[in-house]
Symmetry: C2
Subunit: 155 residues, 2 copies
DNA sequence: ATCGCTGCAAAAATTTTGCAGGTAA
DNA sequence: TTACCTGCAAAATTTTTGCAGCGAT
């Protein structure tokens, strides 16, 4: 089932099936939102997604509603870079999409980090506190190589 | 210099001095905001701070402006629990206030964590990526003991 | 007496909601 | 055909800005 070239990425067909299973519908705006996310390898804000839609395909409100639905369905993951703007990234198949980012505080370039580190620390925190179902959000910030360079080459 | 009972917490006098050094002023609203933060051991949102002011002492706009200034002066630290609401906590003297929280996803109780994510891993990320001045934001989420209990005792 | 700070009003920016009509299944 | 989805408008939030007057130093 479903194994084209794009590998682990969620495909439109998958999402359509999952939508149908919940008696929701695959529509042009939702396709377009997913395409926009597929075209980028880092999280996009609502406005960035909206801007990426060809021909202003749908209303901004529809993007909001789509992202709410897709997040609830766990088709996308929401990330927060501490600036109050929610950013969304396509979840990958077969995992919960849990990972972290390294963001340049100057030019906002985003590096995807594959490792997730604090699991052991998380376990310890869970057992110390008595909390269950403990998860975490972790993002790194710093100055990327280009932005360290005084030369004014647009970063 | 300055050593009353409240120990490592920033005192009003300290902040007044720091303000004066930057030719800013210690005013009643700023005092009240600091008092509100002192009265709580977990981060407060702008609206919570505003609500905590006695007698609606100042305008909401002033709270916004105060928090911007105090954050810039590093008198307070801003935290983000992933819900798009900025929360502020009084910084402690002598350290940068860097720490993390464990937040109940059901009742929003906040546990202050003293541990910090291993700096060594952060170093490794920095050297792998070439980023400088790398920092991070890390918050934990889970279900607190009271909220695990089905008994309806308000949490 | 400065010059920073505040309140008020208003603008700007972001997100949600209601409803009539369009459309996927 | 059903009921989900969308556009449009409007409301509700959240945050920022302008400006005249107040007030800390």
């Amino acid at each position: 089932m479903n194994s084209h070239g794009d590998g682990v990425r969620v495909t439109g067909t998958d999402v359509a099936d999952r939508l149908r299973r919940q008696s929701r519908r695959m529509t042009a705006p939702r396709q377009a939102v997913l395409d926009a996310l597929r075209g980028h390898d880092h999280p996009l804000s609502i406005k960035e997604i909206f801007a990426a839609l060809t021909n202003q395909l749908c209303d901004l409100v529809t993007v909001y509603r789509s992202m709410h639905l897709l997040e609830e369905m766990r088709v996308v993951n929401r990330f927060d870079f501490g600036d109050g703007v929610a950013r969304y990234e396509l979840a990958k198949e077969g995992d919960d999409g849990h990972h972290h980012h390294l963001i340049c505080t100057s030019c906002a370039v985003v590096i995807e980090l594959d490792d997730c580190f604090p699991h052991e620390l998380q376990q310890r925190i869970a057992s110390h506190s008595g909390f269950k179902a403990v998860t975490h959000r972790l993002e790194f910030f710093g100055l990327c190589p280009r932005c360290q360079d005084p030369t004014p080459s647009r970063c």
